[in-house]
């Protein structure tokens, strides 16, 4: 199972900092997101793209996490040489993260 099966995501940009949200479709899966999708795992996933820190903010009222990643946009949207200078497609990479088999999702029974 991939994160895409239990959550959705959107990326935003400010200067050289990217934020990627991760929102559980079913609020009962919020715990899975909190337990498994740590700042460390996200930092590891974006190794080579994110050169700064990854900070995770928790929003239990909407069953969502927000990852803020510094030095993530090739020097900033206005000077980056990347084809996706805004980092808009990073959300799709996060949703591609595999969840271990022993993680049980409410929405997948």
């Amino acid at each position: 199972m991939k994160l895409r099966d239990i959550a959705h995501s959107r990326t935003g940009d400010k200067g050289n900092t990217s934020n990627v949200s991760l929102i559980a479709y079913d609020p009962n899966d919020y715990g899975v997101l909190c337990d498994y999708v740590t700042a460390e795992r996200v930092k590891h996933l974006f190794d080579g793209i994110v050169n700064g820190e990854v900070t995770r903010y928790e929003l239990p009222e909407i069953a969502a996490l927000n990852f803020v990643m510094t030095e993530a946009l090739g020097g900033g949207v206005t000077r980056s040489l990347a084809i996706d200078a805004h980092g808009k497609s990073l959300s799709s990479a996060l949703l591609n993260m595999e969840l271990p088999d022993d993680v049980s999702s409410t929405s997948n029974g």
Binding site: N19, S21, L45, I49, L59
Partner: protein
Amino acid sequence: MRTIRLGAGAGYSGDRIEPAVELAEKGRLDYLVFECLAERTIALAQAARLKDPDAGFDPLLEARMKAVLPACRANGVRIVTNMGAANPVSAARTTTAIARQLGLHGLKIAAVTGDDVLGDLKNSDRPLDIGCTVDSLGNRIASANAYLGGASIAQALHDGAEVVITGRAADPSLFLGPLIHEFGWAMDDWPLLGKGILVGHLLECAGQVTGGYFADPGYKDVRDLARLGFPIGEVREDGDLVVTKVPGSGGQVTAATVKEQLLYEIHDPARYLQPDVVADFSRVRVEEIGEDRVHVFGATGTPKSGELKVSVGYIDSYVGEGQISYAGPGALARGRLALDIVRERLAIAGVETSELRCDLIGSNALHGEGLSQEAQPYEVRVRVIGRTETLAEARRIGEEVETLYTNGPAGGGGAWKSAREVVAVASTLIPEAAVRTAVQYFKT
């Protein structure tokens, strides 16, 4: 309790125009807001103004105003926009002329100025977020604009303006201004101002809260994106919000679309720094209360910092780029060979780059080798892009890709090249008291 209706008519400078007309005609709006100013836009607009003192406002201002002014006038909808960019006064004059051509008499149009702080700032030693001071940019500095809050917009509305045009204002301020004016919210009522910022934040990207930028077939399906309706915020005097859209328009407003936009471009959700307040979205709740109707509540705020963010545009470097495609068996290997050849050619030519990217679009261009699958793509597009000190060197990069036609691997097609000057944006902070805003009025 009184409720007003605000529509978002654009989420960026080039956005679709028809959804704004739909809102003006059928949205039963009190206000129609156009947010059209990206980080870099104002620096480019400033350059246009230097060449022509009447230029420097949004290139679509005339088209948008012509399209929506008649319906706005007929339905009593007031317009707030940052389409003034680097020249709000000229934008207001132009809008006045358009209104006259349309036969709209007695219309009051306001230009909010004061965001341009280049004169005060260019010789200062304030630190920029790129690790140097403002004065160290020397004559490379192109613009400096402070993000204004909602007070001067509210003032213009109080003075009876039906159209308010600003330059750089914080995006949510364009919505906060009307709320301050309509409800008489105090400028130190932090919880209410925080709720007003949430209204602006959710609406300012227009279609991004009504199902745009959301669809993922099979997982998140959205109907009728070609006719996407732009959002309407129904805001109560106590800051309570319902997000909706014109019935029958495309797209959808659901808890999920609202949650995605709630976190868009947010860092610490408890501290969203704005000119008028530090908004706190950390306890915001979202509930669907009907078809395309989502109730959003629980935002609050804490006292503002007293400092304003300033975007500083500067001439950064030159960038040269070239692309060429390969397809069929061995496409990836030929693409890699092409990249090796271009790298060697740039070394032979003595092109100095402070940064060089060699991408294979279709394989590793977006997320690098680490996240790319091992599968062999049917086609790849070679993309070489580098940063140089001179335009001549930037041009050479594209040329070295183009010459792969007759000198490189087999079957290369569709070569393309470009070279351009890069105007980049950095930011700093200045005390709010150092910025003097003013409002100028025009009448038809």
